[in-house]
Symmetry: C2
Subunit: 212 residues, 2 copies
Amino acid sequence: MAAKRENGRKNDPQRTQENILDVATEEFATHGLAGGRVDAIAEKTRTSKRMIYYYFGSKEGLYLAVLERAYRKIRTLEEDLQLSNLPPEQALRVLISTTFDHDEANPDFVRLVSIENIHHAAHMLRSDAIRDLNVSVIETIAAILARGVTGGVFARTADPIDIHMLISAFCFFRVSNRYTFGTIFRRDLSEPATMERHKGMIADAVISYLKA
Amino acid sequence: MAAKRENGRKNDPQRTQENILDVATEEFATHGLAGGRVDAIAEKTRTSKRMIYYYFGSKEGLYLAVLERAYRKIRTLEEDLQLSNLPPEQALRVLISTTFDHDEANPDFVRLVSIENIHHAAHMLRSDAIRDLNVSVIETIAAILARGVTGGVFARTADPIDIHMLISAFCFFRVSNRYTFGTIFRRDLSEPATMERHKGMIADAVISYLKA
DNA sequence: CTTGACATACTCACTAGTTCGTACATTTTA
DNA sequence: TAAAATGTACGAACTAGTGAGTATGTCAAG
């Protein structure tokens, strides 16, 4: 496999590509697709602009690769949650907490998704890798809701996608709209105390909604 | 005032500026600040590129004017809601419904805010007009919450800004993330039935949260 | 084990086209 | 006539993308 090489400093295609993707992720997340500069990316890499075109073909190709990589990352994360043993309410709280922490910990991902929405998800549509994303969260939520209803803990039958949206919207918004919201209401959304309060609030809101 | 002029076809600075702003709003909302083209805007106006620079100085100046105008619009909207006569729960439902409908009806505004967040709200910060926005919604919510608690309808004392965020996040997300969410979950968020269900859901969620 | 052929990885310099912004000339209004 | 408003044409700088050649590593044959 020739995984890594300690001393030989040259010809390490895998590392070169990773390096480009790392830098490009930051550039696009910071400036958007149109605002991101290929030259700026090239300068920050260990390699040259020519290599970007060698590996990714075009600026859009690079952007797409960045996007796919970002989605692949969260997919992994979502998949290894084991919630079926927990009681419904607690399972939901864990799931919400995970979503909350994930968005909080990955502002770059949140920003890339925002940017992709500005482009009407055009690149996502073109990518099989992303479109065929196994949306396991929905099944997880569906199972929790079903258990909750049969067990009499939840009073309401809700659409799992709607519930996912309710949770996602809040967690995502906190990060995506951090700057405008923070400016208008003079509030720092990344303060630990605020974060904890918000995490509790969205969990309580979802659960009391299901119990009502 | 010289509001409008039926026949005289020339030199109508107010109308020229409005025209430029209309076109620019669409361009920036569609392509972002970096992606928006001054030449493209100029072509779609009744006037020329020269006039854009004459009135707005620079591309950024134009963008800022667009942003300020968009915020001024909603401010007006928020201010003439009369909710103090309604019982707390109903008042909240009307407020939520209004927020929901506003975001739904103004995707351009939602997109501009998204774009501004990508730029870390940098332009907003530079604009006194926006920064000093009278955030009357918060007072409105605070009043409703207070009435609800004293009246015994609401069991919980909540921060009005947090409640505003809970509402805003959901309504905003539905519009801002329409494309990525719609693509992943194969769901059209602008369908009337879906819209009505979501509107009911966020209202129920907020109210049951406050009652719990 | 050494030579040489070949594919992959990489470098440097360059270009064609775009994009913001402006100099200059002209018309309209007061 | 002065000031404000407008149109045309142009340029300087930037930006995505490429042409052409070089280095590196692998592997087969001698």
